[in-house]
Amino acid sequence: MSLSIHELSPGQEIGSRTVEVTRTDLVKYAGASGDFNPIHWNEAFATGVELPGVIAHGMFTMGSAVQLVTDWAGDPAAVVDFQTRFTKPVLVTDTTGTEEPGATIEVSGLIGKLDAEANTARIDLTVVAAGQKVLMKAQAVVKLS
């Protein structure tokens, strides 16, 4: 990794990423994470607890958003802090058997703050699905070289 704090400035964009999500992806995430809450895979259960339908795990959205930061940093180990608030659910429609995604998450990031003493950069992520911000205060702190 060769990011130097002297070459960076607040407001600088680090890029963007599009994450397409299907119901199958949610089942895979449930298995990988151990979070088997049926609101993430069962339509009847989700609507039964007053949700509009099956929603993505907040941790799926958070986990998939950070790839943008990891790529920018060049090393996943450089991400020393990562936080978010979950503000809106990501509704994932059932497109099983087609090529269509059930939801699309748009991730973009910019440098929010530089800390010369700690030699870190805080990346502020904007994460949008269906025209709404689904994460708030999504911030990753990257250790610079």
């Binding site: 998939s64 090393d75 608030r85 979950f86």
Partner: protein, 153 residues
């Protein structure tokens, strides 16, 4: 349903050991659509100076949610899991998680706040890697708030 306000300040000691395996890191990385080679290829991880595969930044949620389950399943807590909404999450990494780590988590209930007919509960997991003998090294601190929705919320 009432959340027990006495939960605040409660701790649950480290219980089972979580062995971090390479295939679990790969599986979790694929599940969050991570593509960085340090999650998949041992040589790529070593090329960055790491001893083994590096877990994705949110991998610790597996261990944290196992620790949270102790609270959620505690009959004294009064939490209905089907009414739980994840409100916020933070990971502070004291060092990265690597394949081969043996991790334990201590759970602390830092806050319980009544909200409407429900409650916001803030928990913190202190995750340590077990070393030789009795030694253990701080790896990750996770904090999480869950909203337990009251009836009609």
């Amino acid at each position: 349903m009432t959340i027990n306000p006495d939960l605040q300040g409660r701790s649950y000691p480290a219980a089972e050991v979580y062995d971090v395996g390479r295939e679990k890191i790969r599986e979790f990385a694929r599940a969050v659509k991570a593509t960085h080679p340090a999650h998949f290829d041992v040589d790529a991880a070593k090329g960055l100076g790491h001893a083994d595969l590096v877990a994705p930044p949110t991998f610790a949620i597996i261990i944290a949610q196992r620790a949270d389950a102790q609270l959620i399943e505690d009959p004294e807590a009064g939490i209905d899991f089907s009414r739980v909404v994840h409100a916020d999450q933070r990971f502070t990494h004291h060092r990265p998680i690597f394949a081969g780590d043996r991790l334990v988590a201590e759970l602390h209930v830092d806050g319980v706040r009544a909200m409407g007919g429900g409650a916001m509960i803030t928990t913190r997991s202190e995750i340590f890697a077990l070393g030789s003998g009795d030694s253990r090294e701080p790896v990750t601190t996770t904090t999480s708030s869950i909203l337990v929705r009251g009836e009609g919320q």
